[in-house]
Symmetry: C2
Subunit: 432 residues, 2 copies
């Protein structure tokens, strides 16, 4: 491979992985570069809640001295503090769980470690992965939100502290922070990645995914999490070999709420993808997914957090408390109706991909909003999460405040490899 | 209500619930009766891993002195040791987790407590809810298995130690032990009951449910777990008001493996339901569900237990270790294919209920097998679990060894209330 020209902490994960596998670079140097960056920047970005520096350095030395372990050999990674770790406390972004030490790694963490990844630390989650913000700031402008709920993971990757990080999405918690921080965020198809050892909120929706700086980065992570080697087939990333995907431009029924920055990114994408993309409208049955997603999430979250509500109400934020109370007012009868509707809508959604390989859709209303009081609106992610479809955010533009803007691609259920292949191609068109 | 004639510990849960709500009996007396029964019988049945006697007595006194809290006011219940409890250790049936003390109740436990139920103790799970047996014996014959993985919960309810108990099913872990122990076992529709705080094995399949002595008993539990009040509509249980359901007799493609006892129960049911039931065959697409269920369960369990396999292999049974290794050999590509097939099959399954309200199907091959080395075969449950349909086991016969035999009814997805209404009617026909 060509010699490394960037500072190590700025390498894409896939570039670092290749260099590590070829022993062109050492894991210990990459870990040190990330730790240095964390030391320099985390005092203002606040992406981490726990660091694992000594254990990470020791493991990196071991990895450098031994055989290549797997796809993530020697790559530092961070884990949203909603996922259990056997060697670091896990507090789910809530004072209720401050200092909790799980006995086991979450399955996703165990799989990354097995593939050779080096855990650098736990990253900030909003309170129980809901809307009440954590302390993380947007590395592009510290006065703006990084998005949530996977706030720390997105900010750390955006700021060069980590090449890869794990997050979760129930409404828009991977795609929105990826958009606000200007990184690639990947939400795999629902249920493809084990949620064992992850604080459960809404089982119809909760999905584990992650962040990187390129499509190839999250493909590495996705291959490890799903066990599907098609995600890292080198042909996916070979411009000569790969043919252009058929792209549906799906502005969604809420498009009128997208602001000028998202509209401009959309116009730019339409232009860059001329000849490959054409507009597609959601069928009538799929026009009201947002309201349904909210009802499903609220009902299920209220029940999943029943213990916390009964015994720790004083340690919950007023906004989460209100959400849980709203959720408890939704009847089980309504939820039964909604679960049937979700199953039907997921079936109907397959038709969207008869004439298209992927759909291009907005990720967020616009740039990261100013202030740290909210993490922004997951509006444009709710429907896709409800449908369980794989989604990937592609950053490629800047808004009026100079903050990152991008769009997401949505793929067919369980065809995550096709989504990533298309995303690599589309991202090249958008950033060339 | 009529005066109570049975010993308190033998009451059906719904009878006890009515008597408690009307203050015809006291929670403290019911709790004491169950604890006495446990003291007398558990040294030979081994249904419990942890008891909560003092806390249960104290809570019962409180409940007797205060207002009626909810549907389960004053009812003792047990919890399979796969579900977290904030006041009792939770070991998932594995030495790896011996003595683990969770910080929170599982959502299902919290919901039962909120409804006024009194936790008496944790019941035996097989090792990590897989096939390696726990110590529980079948209360009908101590030389026979109680079934698994919810072994202790089924045995405790069967033996009069508890009126209600929670369990989980991934293959056949509610219906099979219900069949072997001769109690009613209810597996709600997949995803209707929050699995928060339950050790995760296979998210496509894992379902929380429970055991009682009558359909009305598990309806109480189901209403609390799902929040759906239709499950306890008194009209469901009124012979005058309820009309006969349209019953499909679905012997399943593996019927030839049912033994003489199950065949005899089947013949008995056909006779009792003459005029209301007619044979129905699974469509061609649903003929191979068992193999698919096995592949989904093995793949997902192997990944969910990745940490345990990597770090505690010496504390896993040889059979579980082999299962995990088989699971790791299934590729993510195959699993993606299987997940698509599951979604398709769940869609196709809805057609089964166009001409039928419920399906009658075998629960187990026959009586509980002799010996404690295995917990029996979940064969007849695998397909329904894969389809995510609600199932209820109805005990009504005896086999050659005098052990309980019965059949299960299967309902339409998310129409759990219709299943229970039909089950009450069918159970009356079968047991009159």
């Amino acid at each position: 491979m060509a010699s490394i020209k960037k500072p190590l902490h700025q390498l894409d994960a896939w570039q670092a992985a290749e260099a590590l596998a070829h022993r062109d670079i050492q894991a210990i140097d990459l870990v040190r570069a990330c730790l240095d960056r964390i030391e320099q920047r985390d005092p203002v970005v606040h992406a981490f809640v726990e660091l694992n520096a000594n254990a990470a350095l020791a493991l990196a030395r071991q990895l450098d001295a031994g055989p290549v372990r797997g796809l993530l050999h020697g790559l530092p990674f961070g884990v949203k503090d909603l996922l259990d770790t056997a060697d670091l406390p896990t507090a789910y972004g809530s004072p209720i769980y401050a200092g909790q030490q799980p006995l086991a790694d979450a399955a996703a963490v165990a799989l990354c470690r097995e593939a050779g990844a080096v855990l650098l630390g736990k990253t900030v989650s909003t309170e129980l992965a809901n809307m009440h913000p954590g302390v993380t700031r947007n590395p592009h402008n510290l006065q703006h939100t990084p998005g949530g709920s996977s706030s720390g993971s997105a900010a750390a990757v955006a700021d060069g502290m980590l090449p890869l990080a794990l997050g979760t999405q129930t409404a828009g918690s991977l795609i929105r922070p990826a958009a606000f921080c200007g990184v690639v965020g990947f939400k795999p198809s629902h249920n493809r990645v084990s949620r064992a050892g992850v604080k459960s909120l809404s089982e119809t929706l909760d999905t584990i995914g992650g962040f990187g700086r390129s499509v190839r980065d999250v493909a590495l992570l996705g291959a490890v999490l799903t066990g599907d080697k098609r995600l890292v087939d080198p042909r996916n990333f070979d411009a000569q070999a790969s043919s252009a995907p058929r792209i549906g431009l799906c502005a969604t029924p809420d498009w009128s709420l997208a602001d000028e920055d998202t509209q401009q990114a959309w116009a730019q994408a339409e232009k860059a993808l001329t000849g490959y993309a054409r507009p597609v409208a959601l069928p009538a049955e799929l026009q009201d997914l947002v309201a349904q997603q909210k009802a499903v999430q609220m009902f299920e979250t209220a029940r999943s957090l029943r213990h916390e509500h009964r015994h720790h109400a004083h340690q919950l934020s007023p906004s989460l408390l209100a959400l849980l109370e709203d959720g408890m007012r939704i009847s089980g009868e309504t939820h039964a109706f909604n679960l049937k509707a979700v199953a039907h809508h997921r079936h109907v959604a397959a038709d969207l991909f008869r004439d298209h390989d992927v759909l291009l859709a907005p990720s967020a209303l616009g740039e990261a909003p100013a202030g740290l009081a909210t993490t922004g609106d997951p509006l444009f992610c709710r429907g896709w999460t409800l449908l369980g479809l794989p989604c990937i955010h592609l950053p490629f533009a800047r808004g009026r405040n100079g903050l990152p803007v991008g769009l997401q691609l949505v793929g067919r259920f369980a065809d995550d490899h096709l989504l990533l292949t298309a995303a690599h191609w589309v991202h090249e068109q958008l950033t060339r």
